[in-house]
Amino acid sequence: MLVTILEVVIAGLLLGGLYALIAMGLSLQYGVARVLNVSHGEFIMLGGMITWTLTTQFGLNPLVALAVCGPLTFVLGYILHGTIFRRLASTAESVGIFEGNSMLASFGIMFIIQNLALVIWGPEIRGYSYLAHPVNLGGALFGANRLLTLSFALVIGLVFYFYLAHTRMGKAIRAAAQDRGAAALMGININYVLAICFALGAAMAGIAGMLISMSYPVNAVMGFEYTTIAIIVVVLGGLGSIPGSFIGGFLLGLVGSVVTYFQPGLALAAYYAIFILLLLVRPTGIMGK
């Protein structure tokens, strides 16, 4: 019994680490750049598919793919913000209109990236084996790759927290999130900061994709499911709150693990049920103001 509870909790934390990582990226993009990026999952897919290609076709270690996926998705995000979202922001009459338009544009980006990937990789489900040997945690067995994913999520979360709290750029990002106009008056290059935030969010998705490909099969159409999970976590943590997303990710992972234990088919339905109840009862989430 005790081992079962331990197993469910650890499985929840392992899943939660992944959710936290993908949600932090989305939260950064929405919280600062005000783009509810529905194509977030496509960056995850890109990370996963590129890692698969490098590992199986070029025989590289999946961790080496980090050096490719991270910078590549970062640059892609930077370019997208500079070309599409900056223009939308300059033409929109209000924040509300910008949010609506930028979300619709990101739906378009979702279709573009997803179908480019289908042209390149096809719809087949891909997978490879890396660090798949079991590790014993107090009687419960887990794959080493999933533990690696969790440690990556924790490290990235911590590094990112220190980046926001203690660097000059982090301060500029927080200022831009609080009051864009005032931040610009203080001499912060707003367009640059917003583009960096969007690019950092994309890079986190790319890295998450790399980690996902180590433990789960990947394919070109996997993105949207992760997008919806990221959105649920972000709403759970409070739209725009990065610590909220981090905690929300672990919370949702635990919920998923518990529901899966009792009714495996209902895990996703449970996520959406929580999400819908949350929007009705407390749309600001657990950490929102």
Partner: protein, 318 residues
């Protein structure tokens, strides 16, 4: 230009509508079976786009729930198709979608902006997963078979739904309710202050628009003959409706019709041959429309007119 000849000009619209209706109503007499099926698909998208624009156009609430209402219609046909006559099934599909929309509207239309949008996305996924879970756990199969109906009947039912929808949308737009909806879109608080009964109005129009999506889903299900939750609650139906309406333009009544006809025509001709490239182009069109042409195709006409006028002024001789 504008002052002379208003009478012939005002006749152009009605004459075109009557002509188009006559052509569509007699389609099965002169067109091949393939064309009838082809046009049915286009009409389905017109129904989705126009009913989406009926509520979201004036109010500015971006609803991604069409797939939910459409799917409810599909499942009504799948569950009741064997037991009840077709007309009753379609009616019940409309009523079912109406009730669901009424419930959602009453619960959520106080959510503003982005919250409302993501709620509607989550709703489609929730219903999909619940139906999937129910089917797998209790019926033991994932999909269901729907009794097929002959193609001409499907076509005429779809055409009837479309005509009823266009009439309803036109009457609402012309009435004081249309004006009230428009005022909600511009400033909801101001609308409430001048005496618009905001929430009941929004909920009612939202639910009325869902009736047609549900009815369209029920009749399309009979053509597909096999459905499962992934087919019925495919979020693509929502995205398509939104893109078509925005591409055509929400400023004019005919905007969503124009957008739906063009994109649905392209889809039906391209998707079987180049499925990925088609969706790629679809995404590019969506991004380009939002970035460069937020008013849609109908906003292009006045732009072109002023552009040619400027050309004429610059070159008085030509």
């Amino acid at each position: 230009m504008r002052t002379r000849g208003t009478t012939p000009k005002s006749l152009v619209g009605p004459v075109l509508v009557v002509l188009a209706l006559a052509l569509l109503a007699s389609l099965t007499f002169y067109a091949s079976a393939y064309t009838v099926i082809f046009v049915t698909s286009i009409l389905m998208y017109v129904v989705l786009a126009v009913s989406w624009a009926m509520f979201s156009g004036p109010t500015g609430y971006i609803s991604l729930a069409p797939a939910a209402f459409f799917g409810v219609g599909i499942y009504t046909a799948a569950v009741l198709g064997l037991k009840l006559p077709l007309a009753l099934v379609i009616l019940l599909a409309g009523v079912g979608s109406f009730c669901l929309a009424l419930l959602i509207g009453a619960l959520t239309l106080r959510l503003r902006g982005i919250y409302f949008v993501i709620f509607t996305v989550g709703l489609v996924e929730l219903i999909k997963n619940l139906v999937l879970w129910y089917e797998v756990t209790f019926t033991g199969t994932r999909g269901r078979f729907v009794i097929p109906v002959d193609n001409n009947t499907v076509y005429y039912v779809m055409l009837t739904i479309l005509v009823l929808l266009l009439l309803t949308a036109y009457l609402i737009r012309r009435s004081r309710f249309g004006l009230a909806l428009q005022s909600i879109g511009e400033d909801e608080q101001a609308a409430a202050h001048v005496g618009v009964n905001v929430n009941p109005l929004k909920t009612t129009v939202f639910a009325v628009s869902a009736v047609f999506m549900g009815a369209a889903g029920a009749i399309m299900a009979t053509r597909w003959s096999y459905v499962d939750p992934y087919i019925a609650f495919n979020p693509l139906f929502s995205f398509m409706a939104v893109l078509m309406a925005i591409f055509g333009g929400l400023g004019r009544f005919y905007g969503p019709i124009l957008g739906a006809v063009i994109i649905a025509y392209l889809e039906e001709t391209l998707i079987t041959r180049f499925p990925y490239h088609y969706m790629l182009i679809f995404g590019l069109v969506l991004v380009a429309t939002i970035v460069y042409l937020p008013g849609g195709l109908v906003a292009l006409a006045p732009k072109l007119r002023s552009w040619t006028a400027r050309l004429r002024r610059a070159h008085p001789g030509g």
